[in-house]
């Protein structure tokens, strides 16, 4: 791979890191201002390392839902990482260290970023650049947020809650544009997920979306 290609991957990753870092800061701050000790968000981010599950688990804890419900909610949200792991298994290859370490780095952003690349070498580079950078930035952000507490204010003011969906849009759009079968499946899946959201626990809607694959059809995508 040329240096220019790697530089481009780092440049594109950096924005995801920046957005995630700020979300990490807000996660640390929310947990601590809610009354949890500093080590809870910090350790959780290192060993769980899944933003949406961490927010939900801490949200359940702070709302008085109890640790059991918090763990179940987080696990339900993270079942999707099993599908991601299967999708990127090829990228991680056969090496033991690469598989054991790579598995922990599987997140929405990194999987989307890796799958968006046009060839295997770039997919592999994208996975590790995005994955390692995101892990470093996310955990640093959470630590800073936990130490700073509530001094930050409401991150919603800066529109950051729109950044994460926008990152996903930018990453999946090339595939959706090129592949009609995936596009049909994804549209049906998203509609199903939205339809069931008011009625089911967090984490279930995106799993329901997989039913959209019935439209994927039996032939190779165009």
């Amino acid at each position: 791979m040329r240096t220019a290609e790697r530089t481009a991957l780092v440049r594109d990753s950096a924005l995801v890191w920046l957005a995630s870092g700020v979300v990490g800061v807000s996660f640390g701050a929310i947990a601590v201002t809610g009354g949890l000790p500093v080590w809870v968000p910090v350790v959780m981010s290192l060993v769980v390392y899944a933003g949406s599950a961490q927010f939900s688990a801490v949200g359940v804890l702070l709302a008085g839902g109890g640790p059991f419900t918090a763990a179940v909610t987080g696990l339900l949200l993270n079942t999707r990482t099993a599908a991601y792991g299967l999708a990127v298994a090829d990228i991680l290859g056969r090496g033991r260290v690469s598989r054991l370490l790579g598995a922990h780095l599987v997140t929405d952003e990194t999987v989307a970023f890796a799958l968006a690349q046009p060839d295997p070498a770039r997919r592999r580079a994208a996975f590790w650049i995005s994955g390692l950078g995101l892990f470093a930035v996310w955990n640093t952000g959470v630590l800073l947020g936990a130490l700073a507490g509530g001094a930050l204010g409401d991150t919603g003011t800066y529109g950051l809650d729109a950044a994460f969906p926008a990152v996903l849009v930018a990453l999946v759009l090339p595939t959706l544009r090129a592949d009609a079968a995936v596009r049909r499946s994804a549209l049906l899946g998203a509609a199903l997920a939205l339809a069931v959201t008011p009625a089911v626990p967090a984490g279930v809607p995106v799993l329901v979306a997989l039913a959209g694959l019935v439209l994927h059809g039996g032939r190779r995508p165009a």
Partner: protein, 104 residues
């Protein structure tokens, strides 16, 4: 062990187990091309569902107009093949401006 520690450990071990399924199975069982194709499609379907629910909902209700409007601005920019940075910052900026203007 405190209940909070138990919660964090359960979540960590369970999540890691989910993540490890694919990499561990890889190379041990032969995944037919059709299944591999469905797995890749499935990952995209999950991501699109996540961006749809993440744009439009908060908890089990509507997230308000500012966020989906910002994401829509990002989607239009991405469709016009704007650079990644422009897409993401455009979405956040649009949402921030709408909020500053009093849109929820």
């Amino acid at each position: 062990m405190s209940p909070t520690v138990a919660m964090i450990l359960t979540l960590a071990v369970g999540t890691y187990a989910f993540r490890l399924v694919g990499p561990v199975l890889h190379g041990r069982i032969a995944i037919p091309p059709r299944v591999q194709e469905l797995l890749s499609a499935g990952a995209i379907v999950l991501l699109v569902a996540l961006l749809a629910t993440g744009s439009l909902t908060e908890g089990d209700g509507f997230a308000g107009w500012a966020r989906p409007a910002g994401v829509l601005v990002g989607a239009v920019l991405a469709w016009r093949r704007a650079p990644f940075v422009v897409v993401v910052l455009g979405a956040a900026a649009a949402t921030a401006v709408l909020r500053a203007a009093g849109v929820g």
